[in-house]
Amino acid sequence: MTIVAETTSSATELTMAAALNRALRDALADDERVLVFGEDVGRLGGVFRVTDGLADQFGEARVFDTPLAESGIVGTAIGMAMNGLRPVVEMQFDAFAYPAFEQVTSHLAKMRNRTHGHVQLPIVIRIPYGGGIGGVEHHCDSSEVYYAHTPGLRVVTPADAADAYSLLRQSIESPDPVVFLEPKRRYWNKQQVVPSRGDDLGRALVRRGGTDVTLIAYGGPVATALDAAEAAEQEGRSVEVIDLRSLAPFDDETVCASVRRTGRAVVVHEASGFCGYGAEVAAQISEQCFHYLEAPVLRVTGLDIPYPPPQLENHHLPSVDRILDTIDRLQWDESRPAED
């Protein structure tokens, strides 16, 4: 592993979109093999402006617009990575990444295995995902499990601007292909960010300590979970919040250590519940922490419906109230008396 000295940068207030932009800029500056391409990422700077100014700074040879063809974007990125480059490509929206599905599942995820380790594909596919922005159809999907279910892919999703910077830098340096899911409703949230690469790809983070129950979330709903924890505190319940950050691999160690301490767990995500990521988390907790549990693992998820229209999306998205209600259902009265 190459150890690169961290540049000492002071804290700056950045939105998540600006932090991602900064990460791409620094990666392009640090490594000439890095390329950024996709639809409208050049002159326009991307529909969310995440690539704003990069084409001007690094030239159209390294930051460029492609024909409107998602399979083509991922497929050509694979060929470029085979020839030693490190493409970072953008899918414009979650549901617009589906045309690339075969390239992702049959080639990107499997090339290392198909070539007995001879060919590695250090590619990052950036995908703005999820709802909460009043988007029209095909613009708000939570498509994470399609990728997380595929061996060979890393699936990463930041919940705030600081992680957006750090996790994107680490993803670009990863020897494995990474599907990097950006919760678009957090793009404009500001935060003091010290641009720091970090070395914790694949690890979850305890965002808030607590003793009564563990909330497990990722991406957009992490902020909702933190709000719910704050509200629960007012009601006298101490809630721990874990931000998974990496969906594949799953950091069961951090999650299970927390649940063994609290004895209760709720998984929160905005994707539909059926066969959703929460099902996997609940199963892992049941398998590994059964004797520590005071209640079944519960889930707060999106409904099992296609993503709803803007005026109804609040019914679909996990809310603070729904999380609090779910915490209330964790068999508090039936629990065994505390042993001390």
């Binding site: 063809a69 060929g79 470029m80 085979m82 380790g117 590695q120 691999p249």
Partner: protein, 371 residues
């Protein structure tokens, strides 16, 4: 209304992109030299190399089919009858060029220098392609149709970005041209002016479906003009013509002229694979017509007529092919131990915690089974 100038410009840009009415041919089915002012016959040395490559390739192919019948290969898609296309194209590659083959291109891959046992690793039933793609610059044999065309474009474009003179030859079948990735690859290659040669072996059938049900275009080479790249049609059973076309397309790409689409008109003599029954969808009469256009017989007659080959050389080459096939048979008959540990090795750069646990479980099961 479009202006007359715009119409003229479009007309000028389109020039040279359409294929000829008759496929390019240098040696006809009766082994006579065709006069073609536009195309030069490869020199004697090249012709002899093409002949040798086809003879070795066919013997390899028939040996692979035999090994499949003996259960030594899981499946084998034969390229019998397509040797002129396979060899004519691959021998046009320079050492620093790349080949992106499909599952039907084992003959081309062996001609590129990859060990035949390694070539057959995948079809033997392994999970990996069997060879290091970087050693001979041969991508893994691609099973999903047309997807590799995009990889070829990306690799070629990366070479250009890095200032390398590398041209990529990607092989496709007629069926694969219906896939979206073929269209995306042709389009992107043309927009980027990428150094790629798209080599479509039109062997008449996609498993059982004839070309007429695949496309309504006048020819597959006609698809080039819509994307802005030249489309050539060549007699795919004429090794000399295939070689000349692919060589020129490589020169053109190498000089910065961009991609070319070549449709090589040939025929799949065998069924799709050993698991297929071709009698359900085509007449034996049709097969016999194509047997009469055999690419090896054709070039042999041409070379014999010009005293570039004689019976003793033919016999010597056949003996060489038999020896190689015997060696292949012997090596393929050796059992390869399958190590379950290997299943976890190359999923990620480092096995995840979950994979390490699963590997330990398999190890324990194996130990219990052995005890």
């Amino acid at each position: 209304m479009p202006s007359r100038t715009a119409a003229t410009q479009a007309g000028t840009a389109a020039q040279g992109l359409l294929p000829t009415d008759v496929p390019i041919s240098l040696i006809d089915a009766d082994a006579r030299a065709c006069s073609d002012d536009d195309w030069k016959m490869p020199d004697e040395l090249r012709l002899l190399k093409l002949y040798r490559g086809m003879v070795l390739g066919r013997r390899f192919d028939s040996q692979a089919t035999a090994l499949t019948k003996q259960g030594r290969l899981a499946v084998y898609p034969s390229a019998r009858g397509q040797e002129a296309s396979e060899i004519g194209a691959v021998l046009a590659l320079r050492p620093h060029d790349w080949l992106f083959p499909t599952y039907r291109d084992s003959v081309a891959i062996t001609a590129r220098g990859v060990d035949p046992v390694e070539v057959l690793t995948l079809l033997r039933g392994s999970w990996h392609c069997g060879y290091d793609p970087y050693e001979h610059r041969v991508a893994p044999q691609c099973t999903p149709l047309a997807t590799s065309a995009l990889h070829a474009v990306g690799l070629a474009q990366a070479a250009r970005m890095k200032g390398e003179d590398t041209v990529v030859l990607v092989m496709l079948g007629d069926g694969a041209t219906s896939e979206g990735d073929t269209s995306e690859a042709l389009n992107i290659a043309a927009v980027w002016n990428a150094p790629v040669v798209f080599f479509v072996q039109n062997n008449g059938y996609a498993i059982s479906v004839p070309l007429a049900k695949q496309t309504a275009a006048p020819s597959l080479a006609h698809r080039g003009i819509g994307f802005g790249l030249p489309g050539l049609r060549v007699d795919g059973n004429d090794a000399a013509a295939v070689h000349a076309c692919v060589s020129r397309a490589i020169e053109r790409a190498s000089a910065g002229g961009g991609p070319t689409l070549i449709e090589s008109m040939t025929y799949r003599i065998e069924a799709h694979t050993n698991a297929d029954d071709a009698t359900r969808y085509r007449d034996q009469h049709e097969v016999e017509q194509w047997l009469a256009r055999d690419p090896i017989t054709r070039l042999r007659r041409y070379l014999l007529d010009r005293k570039l080959l004689d019976e003793s050389k033919i016999d010597a080459l056949d003996a060489e092919a038999d020896t190689a096939a015997a060696q292949l048979r012997e090596r393929m008959n050796a059992d390869v131990p399958a190590d379950p540990d290997e299943l976890f090795k190359d999923v990620y750069a480092e096995p995840t915690t979950a994979l390490r646990r699963q590997r330990a479980m398999i190890d324990a099961e194996c130990r219990a089974g052995a005890a």
